[in-house]
């Protein structure tokens, strides 16, 4: 009857979103009066989840699962859910978790709610708040199936320490050859750089930068802040930046603590996509740019003067606060 949480790893170490979903699962477990069990795959630091309220970790060790495979991973989670009799399963909003959640929902005949932004409003009936209409609204969604899968939005609940001792068990999930109808043949991933999905800070720029050759200062600003870089839709459509950086309604959503928009006017589709960011800063030479109405802080000025100046001031700030 425990709450089951799927805790993702990267090279054996738990990702930041794993700690957040564990914290969230712990809150649900408190609400319904049970404990949290985590399911992890080839994780090396399983006991560390105890700090976030997890009391039991089922770890699957299988070299066939070294590379993510949605169907095989969903099968492992489904088997863990069955073993635990779990009625609530918590997953993150990473690309991998979103990939496997539909598969898991079909396997368990479960209702799945994605993009959830808060602890359940009630557990009988089970109602959660999620974003809808591409962040232009929220829905309060009731899940009536016996098993419920809750997909938590990135950076929506936070990482909350809740010191427990996690008992780690080897879990031998059966993995079938038929799960590998899709085979990963090449992964092309930026190493050592924050991604839009899990960065605390995102630095984004638009057509106001005039051309791809001017992105050096955006990258420098991102480097200083340890931020991910992003861009507006026109910039990715023009091929100035890769599609993976496009944020907005048809691109990626951003839910960072700080979002800095440089030379982005703020079309309704863009503003929707970044609305979950907690603090928004806009730098634009047009005081009428719609982004000023959606931002917390703004500078009306030429990006080519303001951004280098901001880089200098941040360097000084970092030197003082190092």
């Amino acid at each position: 009857m425990s709450v089951l949480v799927y805790t993702e790893t990267d090279k054996g170490k738990f990702k930041k979103n794993a700690l957040e979903v564990a914290s969230y699962a712990s809150e649900i477990a408190t609400q319904i009066g049970t404990s949290v069990t985590a399911i992890s795959i080839n994780a090396t630091d399983n006991a560390s989840l105890g700090a976030y309220g997890v009391e039991k970790v089922l770890n699957v060790s299988d070299s066939k699962l070294d590379t993510f495979n949605a169907k095989a991973y969903a099968n492992c989670i489904a088997q863990a859910a069955e073993a635990e009799g779990a009625k609530v399963i918590v997953v993150s909003s990473s690309a991998d978790s979103k990939f496997l959640s539909g598969i898991l929902a079909a396997k368990l005949n479960a209702g799945y709610v994605s993009n959830v932004v808060a602890a359940p409003e009630s557990t009988t009936p089970f109602v959660v708040k999620r974003t809808a209409f591409s962040n232009k609204g929220f829905a309060h969604t009731e899940v009536s199936s016996e098993i419920k899968i809750i997909g938590l939005s990135n950076n929506a609940f936070g990482i909350i320490e809740n010191s427990k001792t996690a008992a780690v068990e080897d879990f031998s999930a059966s993995v079938n050859d038929s799960d590998f109808g899709t085979k990963s043949i090449e992964v092309d991933k930026v190493i050592g750089k924050a991604t839009i999905a899990d960065a605390d800070i995102v630095v984004s720029a638009g057509r106001g930068l005039k051309g791809p050759e001017n992105w050096g200062m955006v990258e420098e600003l991102a480097d200083i802040l340890g931020a991910a870089t992003a861009c507006s839709k026109p910039v990715s459509d023009l091929g100035w930046r890769p599609h993976g950086e496009h944020v907005g309604q048809t691109g990626k959503p951003v839910a960072s603590n700080l979002y800095i928009a440089i030379g982005i006017s703020g079309a309704i589709q863009h503003l929707a996509g970044v609305s979950s960011s907690k603090t928004k800063v806009v730098i634009n030479n047009d005081p009428e740019a719609p982004f000023f109405k959606a931002a917390d802080y703004g500078i009306v000025g030429d990006a080519f003067e303001v951004v280098p100046e901001l880089i200098e001031k941040l360097k000084e700030f970092k030197a003082q606060n190092a």
């Binding site: 539909g102 591409s134 303001v306 700030f317």
Partner: protein, 248 residues
Amino acid sequence: MKILVCISNVPDTTSKINFTEGDTKFDTNGVQFVINPNDEFGLTRAMWFKEKQGATVHVANVGGAQTEPTIRKALAIGADEAIRINTEPKDGFFVARQLAEVVKNGGYDLVIAGRESIDYNGGMVPGILATLLDMNFVNTCIALEVEGNEATATREIDGGKEKIKTSLPLVIGGQKGLVEESDLRIPNMRGIMMARKKTLNVVEPVDAPSPTEDKKFEKPAAKGPVKLVDAGNVSELVSLLHNEAKVI
């Protein structure tokens, strides 16, 4: 190759979103409906398979009669036939069950759906559909090639991309990248005329559960006014971000 493109009828991306009936329903008043953008990228890729590889392309939509203009647009873009499952799309699970019936009966090799609709954003239809049908599945797909029975797909992952080898029958959760924005087609007059004559089959839904229900909606809270910092005083911004917003 027989392709089914699943299309959702959604408010245009520029729509302002409002709710009605005590915030329990989306207010469609004055809203322009379009093919869900994530689906349209897939439809356009399907047109490529039709033109270059002789594929047959059908589109399916779960919706009432009001979605037919959107379905006709897909036919005007070039789909050969359409199927409308005559029921309101209650939730993702329900929609996937309806589409699974269509796929089973139609013998499709490739099913392309969007990774999510831009209205309810459930993001579950392609995954549930693939699993119900025991077909291979690639989500957030940004490139797709098919040769005979073999398929190579690229999916977007956090911070990069992954190339995947798989085979038909296959379900794709598509998005921008399957084709570029500039590849999208605006139906021409000939396409629109031809679309009127193409088959649009209306089929009745099967019984299926809908385990989730949106009970109430709300709009995001209004934002306070922006705090402007003078362009000549950038250090003030740094100090506000550190001391007030506490984000650096």
